[in-house]
């Protein structure tokens, strides 16, 4: 098995990233995590890929059975999701914003075995893009859409050190999004901004655990995958699986 860590270079936060040894600074996050990640299982080949995912040629992705994106801007998510869908590569994405986190999977045509004798086929999942434009029932996806738009606009996530300007921008993006879909303002309550700043560390293992499990399930072909979104609210500890597709 080959695993590639395509983490983009960013400021190393040795406290938040337990794979990054104390005192390491000035190198990419992927590079800094490599040694510890490798030690987790010496049987796995772990490699670091430099440069941003967006800059990779299409062929780059063909070598993988599964691609998982975290902390990417919306544009890259959509582009790579489409690409993977067309190449029948299992695609996953996940993020954590404050108390909220989500996981998304596009497995394309996916066969899996469940129970000993039966085999089921899951209908193709619609690509990621519909999540943004078609969703209407739950607050979460809309809130996530706002957060992803924020990331696109600012190239970063809301920062507690810039709480006031970031809150203003979030609310502005919310209003734009809701307006463009002709929805009422209370679709996303104003206070959503209070619980989505920075990453809250215990939310990450929940979202990461679900992501990891889904990737294992998808690649092993065992058990029904979560279809196709998982949303987590770390305050109520609600974890919802919902399917959003074009209809």
């Amino acid at each position: 098995m080959k695993l590639y860590a395509c983490v983009q270079v960013s400021a190393v936060n040795t406290r938040a990233q337990f794979l990054v040894p104390h005192g390491v600074a000035g190198i990419g996050l992927a590079e800094a995590s490599l040694e510890q990640a490798q030690l987790l299982n010496p049987m796995v080949e772990v490699k670091v890929e430099h440069g941003s995912v967006a800059s990779k040629p299409d062929e780059f992705f063909s070598q993988f059975d599964a691609v998982c994106l975290t902390a990417c801007v919306l544009e890259d998510l959509l582009k790579i999701c489409d690409l993977c869908h067309s190449k029948s590569i299992k695609f996953f994405a996940g993020d954590a914003f404050g108390y909220h986190g989500y996981m998304f999977a596009d497995l394309g045509q996916h066969d899996f075995v469940e129970y000993v004798h039966a085999s089921f086929t899951l209908n193709p999942v619609w690509p990621f893009i519909y999540f943004i434009v078609k969703v209407s029932r739950i607050d979460f996806p809309w809130a996530f859409a706002v957060l992803l738009n924020f990331r696109t606009k600012k190239g970063r996530d809301p920062d507690p050190l810039m709480f006031t300007p970031d809150t203003d921008l979030l609310l502005q993006l919310r209003d734009e999004l809701l307006e463009s879909h002709g929805l009422e303002k209370n679709t996303i309550p104003e206070n959503f901004t209070s619980s989505c700043f920075s990453q809250l560390s215990p939310v990450c293992p929940v979202v990461g655990g679900v992501l990891g499990q889904e990737i294992i399930k998808a690649l092993s072909g065992h058990d029904a995958p979560l279809n196709n979104f998982f949303f987590f609210d770390g305050f109520t500890c609600n974890g919802i699986v919902d399917c959003f597709k074009s209809c």
Binding site: T14, A16, P21, P160, F197, V203, Q213, H222, F232, G239
Partner: protein, 641 residues
Amino acid sequence: MALDCGLALAVSRSRLLVVGAGGIGCELLKNLVVAGFRHIDVIDLDTIDVSNLNRQFLFRKNHVGKSKAEVARESVLLFCPEANITAHHDSITNLDYNVEFFKKFTLVMNALDNRAARNHVNRMCLAADIPLVESGSAGYLGQVTVIKKGVTECYECEPKQPQKTYPGCTIRNTPSEPIHCIVWAKFLFNQLFGEEDADQEVSPDTADPEAKWGPGEIIIQESNELDGDSGNIKRVSTRAWAKSTGYNPVKVFNKLFHDDINYLLTMDKLWKTRCAPVPLSWEHLERQVDSQGAPVEDVRDIPSCGLRDQRVLEVHEQAQLFAGSLLDLQKELLAKGNGAELVWDKEEKAAMDFVSSAANLRMFIFSMSMKSRFDVKSMAGNIIPAIATTNAIIAGLIVLEAFKVLTLQLDKCHTVFLNRKPNPRKKLLVPCLLVPPNPGCFVCSSKPQALVRLNTSTMLVYTLQEKVLKERFGMVAPDVQIEDGRGTILISSEEGETEVNNDRPLSDFGVRGGSRLQVDDFLQDYTLVIDITHSDDLPPDVDFEVLGDAPTCAPSPKTNATPTKANGAQAVRPSTSSSHTRTPDPEHSNTPIDLEENDGMEATDGKWQGATSPQGFGRKRKHSDSDAVVLQSDDDVILCD
């Protein structure tokens, strides 16, 4: 991390006790320091085993054999040197960890793998009035809850159901699934090397109602006579017989896999609708191997790094493994001296080899597909394989619940269930309201009281201590005083004071129906008043009943559980009983109430029961048999042994 000020302050100031540094414990420690906790005590009795490395990510190969607590501490300090972590390589039931010790902490977090230790920590937290976050995982399933004295249910408010056992005749006469053979092999281990137990008989059961055994048809073997009542073939015990042969592998082999099988075949009614077993003799196997010229390498010498474990051995290899491990175990037994016993442990090589080979030979005889040692180990250890991702999720949830406890938002805390699949309300993670304490709880109510029915003229003081007080009521070091006006001390936790009473029946001390015993466990700061009712007609195999408990289903007077190493406590299960009136009914429980929608019992309804385990066995049992509040292990789940 972006904690708001109040929470950040609470986090940085609190001092935590983490009990257990295994699957959940490793994840939890990581989460805690990353979240900003700086004062943590971690305690674990265990040392690191190779089998831990796939998920307990704070441990590496070079740590094998070392203390889990200490290595976990060192590994965490590597990425967070400013954390102040104290490691205790010890059992939490040790007297040093008294109420004063518990009072030093803001919050206690359990990351345990056995019920006895959970019971104990529950009581210590109640006594110290320190909130407890309890957790457990089993395969894909997991659970987190918060326990606070006087506000929520305690861990023991809902009695936990004992696991079911398989009917003896299925194990002894008519196994139809590999698990039956594995249970048989574990019984065999105990018969030969461990604690002898009449309920773990491995020889053919002539009292099998199906066999309709008539006295005229008896074939009496060498030293065998029929013991008319019990249906056991009366023999000098299996062990005595094996000893008399010097644990001769060929003789033991032929007896178990040839003679006993032939004996079963004479019970011909059993085989009318079943596929009859085929006896296997050592000599026959030898001839087969000779004629095929199969290489005779010692299967035990094949490196066991995964490969050997996952290969299904040939019959002759199983026989060889059986013979080799039998001799190894005999040596081990001898080395321990006279009267010693071995305790079965799936991590002990010879013991596991023995059970794997014996089970497989029996599977072969009963025309089942044999299993790899790896698979047998999972089933014999009753493991639902621990899944790293489940532990990660549970450990994340523990911290999220802890945040709410620390910011005094107990009303916002939940019991959270992690399901295998989303429930009909699409929830994979199901938060449920915390339940208030059970006023009749024999642990956390203000004056704990229990009514116990037993035969005062046959129950020995020792049995009262071990089975009733320690096993059933979860005490560690009980003192018992008879409320007879004179304050007669029946049992003292001080060594040497009351041992002379051990072998005498309760009636010798004036205990009879209507007697009242005051039982104290000073470590747990726990007093229980037990009212005795006398009964002459308890069902056979039942030593006692706790009234209010539901009638026993599949009474199993002896726990077949093998002691687990974790935190020093045995996997203790109630011996007679099951549950009192508040036992969650999978359909109509009052226990977990889902927020908002009140679709409560999802965690125990069909989704749990319908879940399959990777082995395709067992899980269904577990979740249909056990209640919602059972927090099982992050390592092994005892299903059915």
